[in-house]
């Protein structure tokens, strides 16, 4: 994707990193700011790359915390260290104020980015097998109902659609009735309908006061589900806070979007930043009236113009100078 940024860059705001619980706007437990998980100076080095480089944050009980970033940003490594799957090179993870140990696995549910299941087993048999790995847990009927698995219980794992498979993987993460749920890129590869259905499931789970830690590179997903987010790039957190607060802090303008073919020329010396983004031309302005007046003056058609507020995709671009999905 060709990017042509013609505006002044707002420098990444290191001042935006702060304690997550200061900016909650929609947490179901907004009255308390109890930390359930704390990540301190996490480092993970591989022979040829440092995947996680000094990451620190904390997660409030009952909140949904999102780790955002492009592929290779270090978010999956960070959550896998938190889950106890990967050993860190440095730093520590505290659960309920204590270093995590093997018993932590009884308390958490995990949905990996990609998980193969046993061939020739049905959905129910797979759920039953995972349920039996835990001493205590949820009633399978409840998990089945919550994840809408009733109609596919007898279906072979190999014959599930992408959405059905993700619902089953979510069900497996819930069989032990976890207090903390890790969801690593849970909707990658799903069609928009399946993705929205999955979001509804996560929202239902959140209503049970479970803490959710979500990694995603879908900004809409993070905006809709997360109380707090940390944006990662090159193994570091470059911004942290609630989505609305971060957007408010970084942006005072709105975006005017045009199909590229509507503006072939005429924007030279335009008083507001202009960005070519895919098939669109975007104009960023804090003063819509003035921008529209300028466009009319330059004989640019406004018929297909759209006005939208800034979103997390814009924020990522603002902070890193690159598209999130590249």
């Amino acid at each position: 994707m060709k990017l042509a940024i013609t505006r002044n860059r707002v420098p990444p705001s290191t001042g935006s990193a702060r304690a997550i619980n200061q900016n909650s706007q929609s947490s179901p437990v907004s009255g308390r700011a109890e930390k359930v998980l704390e990540v301190r100076d996490l480092v993970k080095r591989y022979p040829d790359v440092t995947a996680v480089n000094g990451v620190s944050f904390s997660v409030r009980r009952g909140s949904c915390f999102g780790l955002l970033g492009p592929n290779g940003a270090g978010k999956t490594t960070t959550v896998e260290i938190m889950e106890g799957i990967v050993k860190p090179s440095g730093g520590e993870i505290l659960y309920e104020g204590r270093p995590v140990d093997r018993s932590f696995r009884d308390e958490v549910g995990i949905q990996f980015q990609s998980t193969a299941l046993q061939d020739h087993l049905s959905v129910f048999e797979t759920l039953r097998m995972f349920r039996n790995l835990y001493e205590h847990g949820a009633e399978l009927d409840e998990v089945i109902r919550m994840c809408s698995l009733e109609k596919i219980l007898k279906q072979d794992n190999r014959k599930l659609s992408g959405g059905q498979r993700q619902r089953l993987l979510l069900g497996l993460a819930l069989v032990n009735d976890p207090r903390v749920l890790f969801l690593d890129e849970p909707t990658t590869g799903l069609d928009p309908q399946a993705r929205r259905n999955f979001w509804k499931l996560v929202e239902q789970i959140r209503r049970q006061n479970k803490t959710v830690i979500l990694t995603t590179h879908y900004m809409e997903e993070a905006y809709r589900l997360c109380d707090e987010i940390a944006i990662m790039d090159h193994g570091k957190i470059i911004a942290q806070g609630s989505p609305k607060t971060l957007l408010k802090e970084h942006f005072e303008d709105v975006v005017l979007e045009f199909p590229r073919e509507d503006i072939s020329s005429g924007l030279e010396g335009f008083p507001f930043p202009v960005l070519e983004r895919g098939d669109c031309i975007e104009i960023f302005t804090p003063d819509v009236n003035q921008a529209v007046a300028q466009l009319v003056q330059r004989n640019i058609s406004l018929n297909r113009m759209q006005v939208r507020p800034r979103n997390l995709e814009d924020l990522f671009l603002e902070l890193t100078g690159k598209e999130l999905r590249t």
Binding site: I110, T115, N132, L133
Partner: protein, 337 residues
């Protein structure tokens, strides 16, 4: 712990039983091999006369006796006369001969090969003392059946466990299990039990089927034979788990498993007796679990050996299993390194 082991074991059993092609292959291959090879080698397929000489190998010289210059006869040394006499009784060797302190030979009067060898020997040395050994001939198919069953167990245990664990690791299923309270030893025990139940069921089915359709010699106790198969399977499964403890490439696992199975198939006595082979080969064969399994299974089936008589082999197999499992559990990795 038991609940978790049973959960993983049951799931693996279902996966195996519903994989029709694998199940069919495990059952029908050994049956077809026994039927086919039994037919091909019916009568007696061994082309060579085998004469054991009761003497150290280094001391055997063709000048010692004119009979030793006879062509198309394989002479080899033995030090255990009782074992050699027993094998003459079973037609596994055709004659035993000694020159010191007095010239003497043992032959089975019911053995056609023994009869021909005796005629040749008496032409060369009419005064040599004769001793008779009686015993019913062991058909090749009787001798072959334990080999085929053992070979099937070997492939099923090594590839069936090793490959599956490597595939689980490669596709991330082990990583998912690692996110649960399941411990490596629990996973390993579940795999051992799952494969053990399946391979014992398949082996008993094939045993019963071949006994019904073609019949074969069974001199010893079925319970002893069951214990031999059980112990042998555990040792082979443990070896498969050892191979699969860390490997995440199916190609590498396949290479290592082939490197283990081919020598066992060739020198453990699946197809032909190791009698008369080079002593180094015989010693080498003793380090393989399959050799111990076949030795003890044939001792029970062909010679009616008791549990006490095969205990040395079973003890060694159990010790091997313990070592393989210990190293495998210690080195076990849930995911790609």
């Amino acid at each position: 712990m038991i609940k978790r082991v049973l959960a993983v074991m049951s799931a693996r059993n279902l996966e195996f039983l519903r994989d029709r092609s694998t199940l069919g292959w495990n059952i029908f291959l050994p049956v077809l091999l026994v039927l086919g090879l039994g037919f091909i080698f019916s009568g007696d397929g061994r082309p060579m006369y085998k004469v054991a000489v009761l003497q150290d190998a280094a001391e055997i010289s063709i000048e010692a006796h004119p009979f030793l210059t006879t062509r198309y006869v394989q002479f080899f040394s033995v030090n255990d006369p009782e074992d050699a006499v027993r094998k003459i009784g079973r037609h596994k060797i055709d004659m035993l001969i000694q020159f010191q302190p007095s010239a003497r030979y043992w032959v089975n009067p019911d053995s056609p090969k023994g009869y021909i060898l005796e005629r040749l020997l008496l032409q060369a040395d009419p005064d040599i003392e004769r001793a008779e050994v009686s015993g019913e001939a062991v058909r090749y198919v009787d001798w072959l059946l334990p080999g085929i069953l053992g070979m099937n167990m070997m492939f099923s245990c090594l590839f069936g466990v090793g490959y599956v664990v490597v595939r689980y690791r490669k596709n991330g299923f082990l990583k998912r299990l690692n996110a649960t309270p399941l411990r490596p030893i629990e996973f390993i025990v579940a795999q051992v039990l799952s494969r053990l139940i399946l391979i014992m069921a398949v082996t008993m089915f094939v045993y019963a089927g071949t006994q019904y359709f073609i019949g074969f010699r069974m001199q010893g106790s079925l319970l002893t034979l069951f214990l031999v198969a059980l112990t042998g399977s555990v040792s082979l499964i443990s070896l498969g788990l050892l191979v699969a403890a860390r490997v995440s490439s199916e190609e590498l696992a396949g290479g290592i498993l082939n490197m283990l199975t081919w020598p066992m198939m060739l020198v453990s006595g699946v197809w032909f007796s190791l009698e008369g082979t080079h002593p180094v080969i015989q010693q080498l064969a003793k380090i393989f679990p399959l050799t111990l399994i076949l030795e003890s299974a044939r001792a029970v089936m062909l010679d009616g050996a008791t549990l006490a008589q095969v205990m040395p082999q079973l003890g060694t197999l159990l010790a091997m299993s313990g070592i393989f499992l210990l190293i495998g559990a210690t080195a076990f990795s849930w995911q790609n390194d």
